[in-house]
Amino acid sequence: MRLQYASTVRIVEMPCTGTIDHRVLLQTFENGADGVFVAGCMEGDCHFLKGNIRAKKRVNQVKNILEEIGFGADRLDFFNLSAAQGQRFAEIVTEMTERIRELGPSPLNKKEGETA
């Protein structure tokens, strides 16, 4: 298919998005990620029945926390797509990359002394 998408993305594979933990998502931002998106299976297609539904709820909860602490929720999102939707994956990567570029680098990556 030779699809092109931004090289800025680092893919972390998980056995199911249902294993996503709030702590992991917060940690990615603390470790310097400018943006994170979780790509779960299509709703109704979860091999473990509700893994993607649970992941979506957790992502939304972390978005709430990020909003509450002034980081903003836009740097995190959840998308549903199947393993066969390579085209859609490339689109989402482009969409997220554009969104993050617009937002700029994560305020947590500012050097000491700079104001967030």
């Binding site: 702590r23 603390e30 926390i65 509450e68 602490i69 980081f71 947590l108 002394g113 967030a116």
Partner: protein, 223 residues
Amino acid sequence: MIIAQQKPIQDIASMIDDCNKVLLVGCAGCVTVCLAGGEKETDILAASLRIKRKLENKPLETVTCVATRQCDPEYVETLDSYVKDVDAVISLACGVGVQYLAERFTDKWVVPALNTKFIGGSVTHGEWEERCGLCGDCVLHRTGGICPIIRCSKSILNGPCGGSQYGKCEISKDVECAWHLIYERMKALGKLDKLMEYQPPKDWSKSRDGGPRKAIREDVMIG
């Protein structure tokens, strides 16, 4: 169990505004079960506070640990080594745990991360309901196992009152009338006659009266 809920992060952050290093102590008791102050919630709060403070250019160092129970001195003592070099201790326990930490660590600023709500149980995963009013003189044997003290909005002992409509309480269509439930259950059990038995006025002196209550079991006391 005791049901608690986390305070807004902003409120917790303002309590430790002048601190550079804090210890967050979770509790493996009730608040772990009601998903308010267990290991996971402690780590999430610590990360949230660190991010918030970094955004404000005032980085915060956090240490986290979970006590088996914060309401037991023997487990609070195990926290001694964690507390030494922190400016404040954030307790993710119920109000009891916070007080036990404050009593143990007299020179530390101990603050609560949770609001202690009530004594209750799970309705479904993620939902908890109040079930005990801590009146100190249980009447459940007379009311078919349904507590009129906490589940009746008026805590009346001879209901239902005039506000009971089709099994619901007048305060909300989502609140069941406890006395309607009691009547239906006693009827199903064939024990309606029990409700007709004369009952003396409830002894409220065993409830929240005369200061904090104590319970003593001399046979298990050591020393």
